[in-house]
């Protein structure tokens, strides 16, 4: 009986850890996106400080490619929107994963209690 519970506990724990790893991954991806967001905001503001007399270049690989100022502004704007959308997506993902990890946590704690009862340890109920 105790071994069965132990096995169940083990599997739940594994699942929970996997979920935690996923959460961490999404969290770091989201942080990267945040950094890109601030950077693109700065670029947008600085492009507004320039006038059309300055030539704008984009670094594509090893090449600096000339761009039109207005085109550049449009591109940066679109990129900002894309980043915002991605952040939203990651937010939702994170929320979902948090919920799932909560459930797992509860299951884990209940299994733990069962296991301890089976082992005959004095348990102070949480």
């Amino acid at each position: 009986m105790a071994e069965v519970i132990q096995k169940k506990l083990q599997s739940e724990l594994d699942k929970y850890q996997q979920l935690q790893k996923d959460v961490n991954k999404s969290m770091s991806a989201r942080q990267k996106l945040e950094a890109q967001l601030t950077e693109n905001n700065i670029v947008k503001e600085e492009l507004n400080l320039l006038d059309s007399q300055n030539t704008v270049y984009k670094l594509i690989g090893p090449v600096l490619v000339k761009q039109d100022l207005d085109e550049a502004k449009a591109t940066v704007g679109k990129r900002l929107e894309y980043i915002n959308g991605e952040i939203q997506r990651y937010e939702n993902l994170l929320k979902d994963m948090e919920r799932k990890s909560e459930q797992h946590r509860e299951v884990l704690s209940s299994l733990q209690q069962e296991y301890q009862r089976a082992q005959g340890h004095p348990v102070g109920k949480v």
Binding site: Q36, I42, V43, Q116
Partner: protein, 510 residues
């Protein structure tokens, strides 16, 4: 692995009673970590700022010459002599693989823009560092308190200027003991000063007793001051009621027992409740001016008592007003309210329109702002007509529960009369006049129960034929007494039915 996990859980449950000091330690560790991280980041950003500044210097001097003779880096290990040409043409990285060709001055502008961001990041970090340092201090206090002798905490307020502490008129006639008490304060301070030098804990106990006695006296003083303010105060602003009542509850909860929480603001609250000045109460009730408690530091005196030093910030002058049910509100000066109203509306009009703006009534608060009595040259706000006190004049005497209950019923009853009035005045689209009519007709019911002895100054006597008021734009629109009498005579029949109800309820309550 699960067994160790379980063991940890089991042991965790067993040693719960000893958790507190370890948890506090852990909390302090976390605080310290955050502070260290923040400091590291601050260092980093400061370095960035310095780099940008030197870059700006270089940009300003660069176009001075057409070309410079320099040693050009040639690979990672060598240099070779060369020239720096086109000194005004710069290719600037804007971020995210975007480049722009600019002149030196334009680059300078870009660098300025970036420095702004860096500075704001630095400011944020400084703020968090301060916050966490405060938090760490307060957890220290908490630990000391829980470990120290009993629950006695020495809360001291260094009073620089005696006048600032006690606001309002000082009616010494009521308080024959006021001066001796001040002396007592000084005495205690001296003794406490001595006590710090001593190392005996016995004297600490004596001081504690004295302190408690002093606290009691200060409490009594505060109550007397409250009464004094009530006598002085006048009408009020209705919208602050809820905030004030909630603040009152807070005060009553914390009471005079010292509860030091880890939370800085609450700590300030507790300190304020145990300090003598009613100013602290006023500090809390006005939402527009949040209480700023200067650092409530905690120090350990050598007599074993933890000490919290507390000081007030000076608040702008406010008029204390009393509403029913023994709550007190503050009505800030008219100018401030005007400003607030302006800010709320986010009105883009120029200053030339300001007199008209003052009469523009959008929210109920505006009514109180606009209808202000001029008493002795000072604008005293009217109290809400739906409060119990409005049937009296500015001198408030009776704030008992029964009177407020009565008045609420009256209010409910004559809400019906109001609707009748509103029906007749429904054609007036002007919100001002409608509200005028309500304010005009409401006091008439007061007449039924008490003669209206308000100090209303008639600025513009209105023609009696008009059933509702219009605002003539003098400095202060007020409701003339003539109108009241007239309206009073118009409605003699409706109240009697309600009178009976009020009477019955009043009798019931008695």
């Amino acid at each position: 692995m699960t067994s160790s996990h379980d063991q940890m859980a089991a042991t965790g449950k067993v040693k719960r009673s000893n958790d507190l000091p370890q948890d506090v330690e852990r909390l302090k560790e976390e605080h310290r970590k955050v502070v260290k991280d923040c400091r590291g980041q601050i260092e980093h950003w400061k370095k960035v700022e310095k780099d940008y500044e030197s870059l700006q210097d270089r940009l300003r001097t660069l176009p001075n010459k057409l070309s410079y003779d320099i040693m050009v880096p040639f690979g990672p290990l060598a240099f070779m002599p060369g020239k720096l040409v086109h000194t005004n043409e710069l290719t600037v990285l804007l971020g995210d693989n975007w480049f722009a060709k600019c002149s030196a001055k334009q680059a300078d502008t870009l660098v300025e823009h970036r420095m702004k961001h860096v500075k704001s990041a630095l400011d944020d970090l400084q703020k968090t560092v301060k916050n966490f340092e405060n938090r760490a201090d307060f957890t220290d206090d908490l630990e000391k308190l829980t470990g120290s002798t009993g629950d006695f905490v020495d809360i001291r307020e260094e009073v620089v200027n005696e006048e600032e502490v006690t606001k309002g008129k000082h009616r010494l006639a009521h308080k024959p003991n006021s001066k001796p008490k001040q002396e007592y304060v000084l005495k205690l301070k001296e003794e406490n000063g001595k006590g710090e030098g001593d190392k005996g804990s016995k004297r600490g106990v004596l001081f504690e007793k004295e302190l408690w006695a002093r606290l009691d006296e200060l409490e009594r003083q505060e109550e007397l001051q409250d009464e004094r303010y009530r006598l002085d105060s006048t009408d009020t602003n209705g919208e602050d009621t809820t905030s004030s009542s909630s603040e009152e509850e807070k005060e009553s909860d914390s009471g005079n027992s010292v509860q030091v929480n880890g939370h800085p603001k609450e700590n300030g609250w507790v300190s304020s409740s145990s300090s003598s000045s009613s100013q602290s109460q006023m500090n809390g009730t006005n939402g527009s001016h949040p209480e700023e408690v200067e650092e409530a530091d905690c120090e350990e005196t050598s007599n074993g008592l933890p000490t919290i030093y507390f000081s007030h910030t000076v608040e702008p002058k406010k008029v204390r007003i009393n509403t029913g049910k023994n709550t007190t509100l503050k009505f800030s000066e008219r100018k401030e309210q005007k400003e607030q109203a302006k800010r709320k509306k986010k009105n883009g009009k120029g200053n030339g329109h300001s007199p008209h703006e003052n009469y523009k009534i959008i929210s109920p608060a505006d009514i109180y702002r606009v209808f202000v009595d001029l008493v002795n040259g000072e604008p005293i706000p009217r109290k809400s007509i739906l409060k119990s006190r409005s049937r009296e004049n500015s001198v408030c005497s009776d704030t008992s529960e029964s009177s407020t209950a009565d008045f609420e019923e009256r209010r409910a009853a004559f809400g019906r009369s109001l609707s009748h009035d509103d029906a007749t005045h429904s054609d007036t689209s002007d919100g001002i006049t409608e509200e005028d009519s309500t304010t005009g007709s409401i006091p008439h019911i007061n007449e039924r129960f008490e003669a209206f002895t308000g100090t209303v100054i008639e600025k513009d006597p209105l023609p009696s034929s008009i059933p509702h008021l219009t605002i003539a734009p003098p400095a202060l629109p007020t409701i003339p007494e003539r109108k009241l009498e007239e309206v009073g005579t118009e409605m003699p029949q409706e109240p009697p039915k309600r009178m009976s109800k009020f009477k019955t309820t009043r009798l019931q309550q008695k």
